[in-house]
């Protein structure tokens, strides 16, 4: 028998006792909660040096989540799915949304008063976390290899189809349109014009390092001077994103130390 029911207040009251140490380790962030309705309130959850503090009120949080008292309680009881609620506009988020990802497993499941022990007894789910690190080496082959070597010398090389005259960059063994072997190389650019940019506001983890990239960043296509038919796929300087428009003149920014890889060009910047 319990004389208390599950409530928004109880969710926050029990947070510090429900912390998952592994999720808190290495995380430094502050989360604000604005819960509307009769049973709502405002709270700030601060994570630092492996410890979590919950205090009432909003104290300069880096990200604020707003939800009704009913929805917030339903979320914590597992009766409402966060992504669904978010997409339907029932949860709003302001500030650095990217901080929410690392906090997903910050707390053990909320249990209503009197049921705290039950979950521990019942919970037989075993979760295995693994971080995989796989060293890899790829051969470039002579075509891509010639192109990558060219980057070391600040040269951008394309190859030209003998049949349709289309340039491919990075060069490929055969022309993608005509399916004939391509052997002639020509230098293009290094300057050119922006064709189209894909601006990322949502951080995707870098597949090669596992790190979350800083946003916004922009993968973009550039039509380099002298090139016919094929665009060059690389990145636009994030600082130039506000000025990005089709046709803007660009030039590559070369890395100091060039090793013959895509990173020999840091990005393209807009030329005034």
């Amino acid at each position: 028998m319990t004389d208390q029911e599950a409530s928004v207040k109880h969710v926050f009251q029990t947070m510090e006792s429900r912390v998952n140490a592994e999720a808190a380790a290495g995380l430094t962030a502050s989360y604000g909660y604005r819960i509307t309705g009769e049973n709502g309130g405002e709270w700030t959850v601060t994570v630092k040096d492996g410890s979590v503090k919950v205090i009432e009120g909003l104290h300069d949080p880096q990200v604020v989540t707003t939800a009704s008292d009913q929805d917030f309680l339903a979320l914590n009881l597992g009766a409402l799915d966060a992504m669904t609620a978010f997409s339907a506009g029932r949860i709003q988020v302001e500030g650095n949304m990217n901080l929410l990802g690392p906090a997903a497993r910050l707390f053990k499941k909320y249990m209503p008063p009197g049921m705290e022990g039950v979950e521990e007894q019942r919970e037989e789910l075993i979760r295995l976390n693994q971080i995989l690190s796989i060293p890899q080496t790829f051969s470039t082959g002579p075509i891509m290899g010639k192109f990558l070597k060219g980057l070391k010398d600040k040269r951008i090389l394309a190859n030209v189809c003998p049949q349709c005259g289309r340039y491919q960059v990075p060069p490929r063994e055969v022309c993608a349109m005509c399916r004939v072997r391509v052997t002639e190389f020509r230098e293009i650019g290094p300057e050119g014009a922006l064709t189209i940019a894909d601006i990322a506001y949502y951080a995707s983890p870098d597949p090669l390092t596992g790190e979350t990239r800083e946003t916004p960043y922009a993968a973009a296509h550039f039509m380099l001077d002298g090139c016919v038919g094929g665009t060059f796929w690389h990145e636009l300087n994030p600082a130039d994103i506000p000025r990005a428009r089709p046709g803007a003149r660009v030039r590559p920014v070369w890395a100091e130390n060039r090793t013959g890889s895509i990173n020999d060009i840091l990005h393209f910047e807009i030329v005034d």
Partner: protein, 396 residues
């Protein structure tokens, strides 16, 4: 029409409940849910299965050869099993393989099993690893792209484009509300368009969270049977009239820049499929279309490609709600990919849902008119299209 050795029909379709996290089951158990339901619908038992074709996204759950682990969940013990994976189109490719296996005469009953348990893996990491390790991998941003929104904004004006795709989005959600199995059923209304757009965080360019499909856990099983078996066990099978596969890896980076002059794979596939099946007016001759639509931007644009339209005809279809379940050209009465996306199963669900429509077994989301011809598409990887044509009548 393509010459086929013998006719094949779908006689059973099973789907697990799609959700963001099915923590209550492991992978074999999840698959078992779908296989059981398919067998029940077909009136068959596990012993009647001759062969299983299994598929999901390569290494998305970081389990190599998961078909082995799933043996008991899919009735594979002692049977021939093939595993095929073609990215997002996997589900449709395994359907094509199952059809080919039964048509060949090698097997009488083949079940295609597609699944994904995205909560146990890493989607973006998986997709990004698809690209050329020497160049593209550093640039690809997973499955997210704002390019389609950008291109459509340039062609039709950003306001009209955004309005059309929001209508598409809400129609899809209304369909999902009719489908018990759907993962995301948000209860959206058309008067929310402005608020939804404004409050939805931007992901890439003008592509916002509200535009994108979900990441779901789920499994789907579809049973393909020979004409003899189908006629014996099923009152109204869904006959496989034809299917086609088209892809363009070699021009992938050109296509994403919008620089290609090549016909888009969807349009090429549709054109070829209609030609060889004598379809002159797809908008009128096809009764329902389960389209693989990873976002409302793509769903909208691809309507033009699949129906071989020009100009803004596709926008007008959407603006007039012709694609609604009771409209003149219903699209995704199941809610489509935006509502549920257990990737390895998703394309199979399109084929399965199209089959349910032909069989008259779609329940609350059954299209309210006779379904004689249904179309289903799969999409994925580097512009890979699979298109299926299903009919009520036995093909001859």
């Amino acid at each position: 029409m393509k010459k086929k050795n013998r006719n094949v029909a779908i006689i059973g379709v099973g789907q697990s409940r799609f959700s963001s996290h099915r923590e209550d089951v492991n992978q074999p158990e999840l698959i078992h849910e779908a296989v059981t339901e398919a067998l029940e619908m077909a009136g068959l038992t596990v012993d009647d299965l001759d062969c299983i074709v299994h598929g999901n996204m390569e290494l998305f759950e970081m389990v190599h050869q998961p078909d082995l682990w799933h043996s008991l969940g899919m009735g594979a013990y002692g049977k021939e099993v093939l595993r095929i994976t073609t990215g997002g189109t996997t589900g449709a490719t395994i359907a094509a393989a199952a059809d080919n296996l039964v048509a060949s005469g090698l097997h009488d009953v083949v079940v295609a099993v597609g699944f994904e348990k995205l909560q146990e893996g890493h989607t973006t990491g998986g997709i990004t690893n698809m690209n050329d390790p020497l160049w593209g991998r550093n640039l690809q941003t997973g499955a997210l792209t704002g390019m389609q929104a950008e291109i459509m904004g340039l062609e039709f004006g950003p306001e009209r484009a955004r309005n059309a795709v929001m209508h598409y989005r809400i129609i899809m959600d209304k369909h999902a509300m009719l489908n018990d199995k759907a993962h995301r059923r948000l209860g959206l209304e058309f008067d929310q368009i402005e608020a939804l757009t404004k409050n939805s965080p931007v992901l890439m360019g003008e592509m916002r969270m509200i535009d994108m499909c979900s990441q779901s856990d789920g499994a789907c099983a579809v049973i393909f049977a020979s004409e003899a078996v189908a006629k014996k066990h099923c009152a109204q099978p869904a006959w496989i009239k034809d299917h086609i596969t088209v892809h363009r890896e070699e021009t992938f980076s050109i296509d994403t820049s919008g620089m290609t002059t090549q016909e888009m794979t969807h349009r090429y596939a549709a054109r070829k499929l209609y030609e060889r099946n004598g379809i002159k007016d797809p908008r009128r001759e096809i009764d329902v279309f389960e389209m693989y639509d990873p976002s409302n931007w793509w769903g909208t644009d691809w309507l033009r490609e699949f129906l071989l339209l020009e100009g803004d005809e596709h926008l007008r279809m959407i603006e007039k709600h012709e694609i609604a379940i009771d409209g003149s050209f219903p699209v995704n009465p199941s809610g489509g990919v935006i509502a549920s996306n257990p990737i390895g199963a998703t394309a199979l669900v399109r084929v399965g849902e199209a089959a349910l429509q032909v069989m008259g077994k779609a329940g609350a989301h059954q299209v309210p008119r006779p379904v004689n011809t249904a179309l289903a598409s799969g999409f994925g990887g580097t512009l890979w299209t699979v298109l299926f044509l299903l009919t009520r009548e036995v093909p001859h």
